[in-house]
Symmetry: C2
């Protein structure tokens, strides 16, 4: 029996491409191994040579690097349906680490199974590639974010992005959504100190843009939040319906 987690993957891929009935079925036949993660648990680490991919089913993951001076930089957050280490199919050594943000569930898929699937369905391979390229576009936007926006906008931008990513896979409730990212992690992702993140979040709240509480975020005024973030959704390369909503 196909695991339900694979539906998440299908929904994700369909947020960026079109899949045929046949392709959907083949995805559902992938053999997966479920794994529960506590908060802040690593899945793969810098230097590893993984032989399987990791499909996120529940919770959030993050990609990060440590500098020799001890600072951690988060370079990406992932939401259910994504396969953050799909690139390990082509590049052997990990140059960064992948860990859970809060408690999460992942489905592990052997590289061999992935390769067979892609070989039998080049269209699915294209979908993965498209997704990987979008990931790269997101990295680029993050360079802009940490490099050129002020604290207030950086955080606003991060929230806009996560909202749209979640919305694309149907995990939002109006403008409210799960948000297990602590302020200290927001800091590691935006290049700001925890203290300054806190003050900026308070400013965003005071301006009536967001409600941010333990584990959950609600956007009070999406238009003004996007404006504050100088947010342009082009880089997410969403398909028609999703794009309009952005």
């Amino acid at each position: 029996m196909p695991h339900q987690s694979l539906n998440q993957l299908i929904r994700k891929l369909e947020s960026v491409t079109t899949l045929s009935e046949d392709e959907r079925n083949s995805i559902l036949e992938l053999p997966v191994k479920l794994r529960d993660l506590r908060a802040d648990e690593d899945i793969v680490r810098e230097g590893d040579r993984p032989s399987q991919c990791c499909l996120l089913v529940e919770g959030f993951l993050c990609r990060y690097k440590m500098l020799p001076n001890g600072t951690r930089t988060i370079m990406a957050f992932y939401v259910p349906g994504e396969i953050p280490d799909a690139h390990s199919l082509h590049i052997d050594v990990m140059d960064d680490s992948l860990g859970s943000v809060g408690p999460s569930k992942v489905a592990l898929i052997a590289h061999d199974a992935m390769k067979q699937l892609i070989h039998r369905h080049p269209g699915i391979g294209d979908a993965f590639w498209r997704d990987t390229l979008i990931d790269a576009a997101i990295f680029r936007e993050w360079i802009v974010n940490v490099g050129s926006r002020e604290a207030y906008s950086r955080i606003a931008h991060l929230i806009c992005e996560i909202f749209l990513k979640l919305k694309a896979v149907g995990l939002t409730n109006g403008t409210s959504f799960e948000f297990p990212i602590t302020q200290s992690k927001i800091g590691e992702a935006t290049g700001l100190s925890t203290v300054h993140v806190n003050r900026s979040v308070q400013a965003l709240r005071a301006d009536g843009l967001i409600v941010l509480e333990r584990g959950r975020c609600t956007i009070s005024d999406l238009e003004r939040l996007k404006e504050a973030a100088m947010f342009d959704p082009t880089y997410l390369h969403l398909r028609g319906e999703q794009r309009v909503a952005a």
Copy 2:
């Protein structure tokens, strides 16, 4: 007669993968159209839907975005042999722009020709993918750079990276190399003001790490420069020989 520019492409691909005799020959048969660029000329812009790829032959290119407030962020520099917009084969709309840094030469290759080449030689397709994935790894490292390093280290890191990229394709002369990037562009790439770049560069010079003059850079003490940059070359995914040198 194959254009000499294609040898550059081969050298580049061979810095990250292995090519067969046959594959090399097919690359040399690609039809290219040469184009000369003045400094700061755009090749493709945000919103474009290119129908050709751009192989850099001479000079430097950069990838950048403009924010509504007028600031420009540079997200990557490219050196001869690279095809910065190879991803346009799979993603239709550009979400950023590509322009020359100094006067440069590029070879334009139609998407159709690229697709045929890749179709006939899946190994070359893999090489392009591998290269694209390395590009993504470089974006991630740039997030770390602008997000977590201080000005002095950021600039040192940028210089280490460009040095190794040039070295991988044989465009260095000892530790000296072409460097057409102005201080104001270093600023746009590191998220620093021109003035502060200048002062940091002076500090790097004073510490005896680099000699940076109009159009050329020489590294005086690579070890100490790497240390100052907290530079770890893993993310460049160079092959054996290159890696050792790093």
